[in-house]
Symmetry: C2
Subunit: 349 residues, 2 copies
């Protein structure tokens, strides 16, 4: 399962997070702001000891409610901020709970925009107690430029027609399916929520451009010949803001296999008025063409559809139609079933 | 001329450098390490008051030898470190000269890897005297993600089959030729030497990937309909380390016109063994295809050849042959002549 196969190799330069976590929910009253906590509960349940929230919070993951001291006694090693707010800031009202966690022996893991160490009360206390304040939005030091050298092992990368349509979930589901078939697999996280789930990775969108491909090379280092790295994609080669991230990740990942992720019915790129979504054919073609630069054997194994907005019958019909059109497996990993099994088969073909 | 047309618009977020410069040559004894100083002498002579060096230096630009005080009296506003060394460090032996410059009323401009303000003696003195310590390798704060919004004015971008083969010189030469024809033109610098020549710009390879296209959008802001921004390219879409920089710059620049830069005879990509150079046809095609995402009217106006290693007759023959093959003007901007005039004509066609 993902939970036990995604620990990070020692010796890589990637982030490495102290686990298991106590999930901190702050004072959150809307589930939408607790996406990180729900993602961890769903994809890394064995890494979540419980949850902790302020009295004003109304959202719950359903995990055991524990104080930091109780969580530490049950093995937790860090308290993870599982909620977001619009500014990415840490409100003053959260500080006492974060202090309590440090005093209970837990490190703190955050994906907020503000750096934990910029909050003097936390910085001083963590220093005195020898605890870590870990910001997963910030890449580690020591990144280098890419070399283009072919690495050992097998690699799969999820790419997309746009941002925010299921590249992380697809990579997680494929990792889980590979593990379920007894394969040796790592999920390689390239964004903050994925990094928290995996317990390591690199926030590729925060890496300096000159090091983007080099960072992707570090994210999936040399491995055994039959080992799979399933790499979480970022952005889209067609997105006018984020294509640089996507191309550096594609070149540095040197994938053997691509899965193209798409949301049927989405016609406009996220956040950029006037930009139409590319077709699946065009997305496959340009990814294969650019990816062949660092891996001439690259191929597309199929399409991952995010059909969350469709009913079951309609979703199955849409996927079957697209599969006929492209001659490739098309599946929604969240729905699973035979279609997803065929997509996984084709990744391994 | 470039020298008088490359001042940066107020109000952009780009770096802006105090000019004219006194060029500092340190203790340099090999001309190759003084490339920055020679580039400034050649491309921005009206921004260079003179040169200053330690007694052990043997390299000279031929500009007047002035002390910082003399240079300040003649109008210089900063001393620019015009030399590089392998580590990008500032040796202790240079410090007294840098201190002398600050005391004479000059700011300091550096493209070295080390930050000027990390040297305590300079930091304290600059603070006390109210002088600036400017590191052109480091992008300014406040960059944002790209929007893809079409901007007013005309744009030309130089792209390449590889790194380090003349994208900056080509953009400078085209800027100078446009200005010579009475056009309203800015040279937009995207690397440190270019920034020093232009007096502003953005070091695109040092920008965080998420902001790469957005930074390129800021580098060439809205302008008058007949105004040209001639933008210095970076890297190559085919380079396994640097393609992310190239794609972000291409998308954010939304060029109307491309010039593809190449060194005839070069067969291997710089610093990446096993990577063959792409053909010119392939380079044109992929740049046009990806560039069309943010500017569907993009076209390639011709090819810039770096023929420094060829004799005059051979160079002309090679360019004529390639021009016949591609059906496009091919010229070496350093050699100039009719071929270059035809390339400039076609940019404006």
């Amino acid at each position: 399962m993902v939970g036990t196969n995604t620990s990070f190799d020692a010796g890589t330069i990637s982030l490495s997070l102290p686990q298991p976590y106590l999930l901190f929910l702050g004072d959150t009253t809307q589930a939408g702001f607790a996406k990180t906590a729900f993602g961890l509960r769903d994809w890394a349940p064995d890494k979540c000891t419980g949850e902790y929230a302020l009295p004003t919070a109304t959202v719950s993951t359903g995990l055991p409610v524990l104080t930091p001291a109780e969580a530490h006694a049950r093995g937790a090693r860090s308290m993870l901020i599982g909620v977001a707010n619009s500014g990415g800031v840490i409100p003053a009202s959260w500080i006492p709970a974060l202090v309590e966690a440090l005093e209970a022996g837990l490190d703190i893991v955050s994906g907020m925009h503000v750096r934990l160490a910029s909050l003097p009360e936390l910085a001083v206390l963590a220093e005195r107690l020898g605890r870590q304040l870990i910001d997963v939005r910030h890449p580690p030091l020591g990144l280098t430029v890419g070399t283009g050298r072919k690495r050992t092992g097998k690699r799969l990368l999820t790419v997309g027609t746009d941002c925010a349509l299921g590249k992380k979930y697809t990579a997680l589901a494929v990792s889980r399916a590979f593990a379920g078939r007894g394969l040796d697999v790592h999920f390689r996280a390239s964004g903050q929520t994925g990094i928290m789930i995996a317990g390591g990775g690199l926030p590729m969108d925060a890496v300096v451009s000159d090091f983007e491909a080099g960072a992707a090379e570090m994210l999936s280092p040399d491995a055994a010949p039959e080992h799979w790295d399933v790499i979480e994609g970022q952005g889209s080669l067609f997105h006018p803001a984020y294509a640089a991230v996507s191309l550096g990740l594609l070149h540095g990942s040197q994938p053997d296999v691509l899965i193209v992720c798409h949301e049927p019915g989405r016609t406009q790129m996220l956040g950029t008025p006037g930009y139409a979504l590319p077709s699946l054919e065009e997305t496959i073609d340009i990814n294969l063409r650019l990816g062949a630069r660092t891996n001439p054997a690259i191929r597309c194994a199929g399409i991952s559809f995010n059909t969350a907005h469709l009913g079951q019958e309609e979703a199955i019909a849409v996927m079957a139609e697209e599969s006929r059109k492209l001659g490739l497996p098309v599946a929604d990993p969240i729905r699973g079933g035979d279609q997803f099994a065929r997509l996984v088969d084709n990744c391994l073909a």
